[in-house]
């Protein structure tokens, strides 16, 4: 047998392999379908690597534990699904406010409430953006193939470190449980971003929340040579609570701007046949697979269909969508919810009356035939 990195595994296991590739060495989680395999694989992989696995008493404590571990200098992640993702929202806001890198996987299932535990959905797109209270910016990524799921998981860790923020990986039950071929990259093949740490020596005042000229905040590990305060309250450059309006104004703008002003660098997407497309499908996650199928099928028949697959959902790449869809007669957003990304696409493009939704919300995976039937309706060709 030759030495090969080709595997045939579940999306949840791909996520684990990618997280380890990115340098994760601390995971805390709580069992929930359809994400439990991530915790299971982590518990079997981490001890041999010297990493730490913690099964906590709930999802709240899971995300709190990874935030604590991130502060001591580790790359951390937790994984959950809808109900657990709801429980994590408050602590996610803490990580936003205190600017602590961490990765949160939401393997989406049908909601609201307990919903459809064993069926897929893409219903958490807006929760990822606005689930925690208060103004803030967030990064959320997704992927449609296992190869991309690997890449986006590594990218999630990279962006968490670069922007000192929680990053949400919005996968879904379909990709989480589907087995597919994936080639695990060799060490060095995919870029891995390491944490930016302060070079200030002991005895020199370290200001944990004083940005450098480039806007970045070098970190210092808890247990290291600099002692400082971390809080979820509005804080000054020392990390100490303040209610000074000037400082509050500056901090909220910093938290939002560091991400919203970097949309271009954070955006990942894929394009298929967009050059001359008169009808553009916009999709993401596992539904993009069905969308791509129908696009290729129609191209073979000479129809000018194209696909814009979004891999970065937040910050929403509005400019990219506007530019790519400028010439299209119709834009059809394919997603498995009651219409979430379609709202963002309507906001992004000129003449939003061109934008239609092709969705499925009954727990069954949206098929190419479903999309084909909806295209016939949209194009006025009946059913």
């Amino acid at each position: 047998m030759t030495d090969t990195n080709i595997r045939f595994i579940q999306g949840n296991e791909v996520c684990v392999e990618a997280a380890l590739y990115a340098g994760l060495d601390f995971f805390a989680g709580y069992p929930i379908t359809p994400s439990s395999e991530i915790a299971e694989y982590m518990s079997s992989r981490l001890p041999a690597l010297g990493g730490k696995f913690l099964q906590m008493e709930d999802e709240i404590s899971s995300i709190c534990a990874i935030i604590g571990a991130s502060l001591t200098g580790h790359k951390v992640m937790t994984a959950t699904s809808g109900p657990g993702f709801s429980l994590m929202q408050e602590a996610m806001g803490f990580a936003v406010m205190a600017e602590i890198p961490c990765v949160i996987v939401d393997v989406q299932r049908g909601g609201p409430s307990t919903g459809l535990p064993t069926h897929g959905s893409q219903g958490d797109i807006y929760q990822a953006k606005w689930g925690t209270h208060g103004d803030h910016a967030i990064i959320a990524l997704t992927a449609s193939t296992h190869q991309d799921l690997f890449r986006m998981t590594v990218e999630g860790f990279n962006l968490a470190e670069t922007y000192r923020t929680p990053v949400i990986l919005l996968f879904d039950e379909m990709s989480g449980h589907m087995r597919e071929k994936v080639e695990l990259p060799k060490s060095g093949e995919v870029q891995v971003v390491q944490r930016l740490r302060t070079s200030l020596p002991e005895g020199v005042d370290y200001h944990p929340y004083l940005p450098r000229e480039d806007g970045r905040l070098p970190m210092s590990d808890f247990g290291g040579r600099h002692r400082y305060n971390v809080t979820g309250l509005y804080h000054d450059m020392w990390g100490f609570p303040t209610s000074d309006p000037k400082i509050i104004h500056g901090l909220i703008h910093h938290l939002v701007d560091k991400i919203e002003n970097s949309v271009h660098q954070i955006t990942h997407s894929k394009e298929y046949f967009l050059e001359d497309a008169t009808c553009i499908l916009v999709s993401y996650g596992s539904t993009a697979r069905s969308a791509l199928h129908i696009v290729k099928n129609r191209r073979n028949r000479g129809e000018k269909l194209g696909l814009l697959e979004l891999q970065t959902l937040w910050p929403f790449p509005a400019q990219l969508v506007r530019e790519k869809c400028a010439q299209a007669v119709s834009i059809v957003v394919v997603e498995m919810n009651m219409g979430q990304v379609v709202q963002e696409v309507k906001k992004a493009v000129d003449r939003p009356e061109r934008v239609f939704l092709a969705n499925r919300v009954d727990g069954e995976f949206i098929t190419p035939t479903d999309i084909k039937n909806m295209l016939r309706l949209i194009q006025g060709r009946g059913v």
Binding site: F26, A28, P47, A48, G50, K52, L54, M56, E57, D58, I60, S61, S62, C64, A65, I66, I67, G68, A69, S70, L71, T72, G73, H74, V76, E90, A91, F94, F222, G223, G224, R225, R227, Y228, N229, V230, T231, G232, L233, W238, F240, P241
Partner: protein, 266 residues
């Protein structure tokens, strides 16, 4: 001792009311740290939300001021990821045992080497005097204008039943015991829970006509007694002070290290 070595003077004056018992806890906690000779760089204080939780900002350690009720969960991540660090978690009664009750019992059960300090003033002070699970019945609070009818529970019993391997109780009046028990708790390898009854004259005392700060401290003196003492035997209605549990139970981080070694061999 010189407290200046251990506090962040920049962040003073503190926000506690005159007569609050929490300053006594801070004072004697710092004495414990000094007497143990702990390095400040190896000390992490993790707290939640409430009057007591602000203690973490005032000390010159690594300090993490988190969410209401979740301090022990953050602390688990800190300790597990860096077991060489000493982790102290000051909490209020509402913080530790209402919103944080589930984390508290599981932290006791897991037996990770963390020192939990429950500063029990029987009231939600920061939000203005609502009753807590430790208030007890027949008292007044802003959310119990007639009287409280909620039964209380015993923090010590709760910690013991949940598996904590070191459990002690004292009061802000018995300040020397604070230092003594905190030293034992920090040195103990396993989860320690130390309950410190601490007066809140502003919100608990005033509304219940318990007098001023001195009266409330004297109340703690007169209504508690060392466990095993004649005073407690003769007055069983008094609250027991002392060390209730001090035992060896496998510590979580050490047990995990054993798994790592086994995985390497496997």
């Amino acid at each position: 001792m010189s407290f200046r070595n251990y506090i962040r003077e920049r962040f003073f004056p503190h926000l506690w009311c005159p007569g609050c018992g929490h300053g006594i806890v801070l004072n004697n906690m710092l004495r414990a740290v000094e007497e143990l000779g702990l390095a400040k760089n190896e000390l992490v204080m993790v707290s939640g939300i409430g009057c007591s939780s602000r203690i973490s900002g005032y000390v010159d350690f690594h300090s993490l001021h988190t969410l209401h009720g979740r301090a022990l969960a953050f602390a688990a991540g800190v300790k597990m990821s860096q077991p060489n660090l000493n982790v102290i978690v000051p909490m209020g009664d509402g913080d530790a045992l209402a919103i944080g009750g589930n984390h508290f019992i599981h932290a006791c059960r897991r037996n990770m080497d963390i020192t939990a300090v429950i500063m029990n003033n029987r009231i939600y002070g920061m939000t203005g005097g609502q009753f807590s699970p430790l208030t007890g019945t027949g008292l007044k609070a802003t959310t119990a204008p007639l009287e409280t009818i909620d039964q209380t529970f015993d923090v010590v019993h709760m910690a013991i039943a949940s598996g904590a391997s070191y459990v002690a109780r004292t009061t802000s009046y018995h300040f020397q015991e604070i230092t003594k028990y905190l030293k034992q708790a920090i040195n103990h390898k396993g989860f320690s829970a130390v309950e410190i009854l601490s007066p809140c004259p502003t919100h608990f005392g005033r509304r219940n006509k318990l007098g001023g700060a001195v009266d409330m401290l004297e109340h703690l003196r007169d209504n508690t007694a060392q466990i095993g003492s004649k005073a407690l035997e003769e007055n069983p209605e008094r609250i027991g002070r002392g060390v209730f549990v001090h035992k060896d139970t496998p510590e979580y981080c050490s047990e995990y290290e054993r798994l790592i070694q086994a995985a390497h061999k496997g």
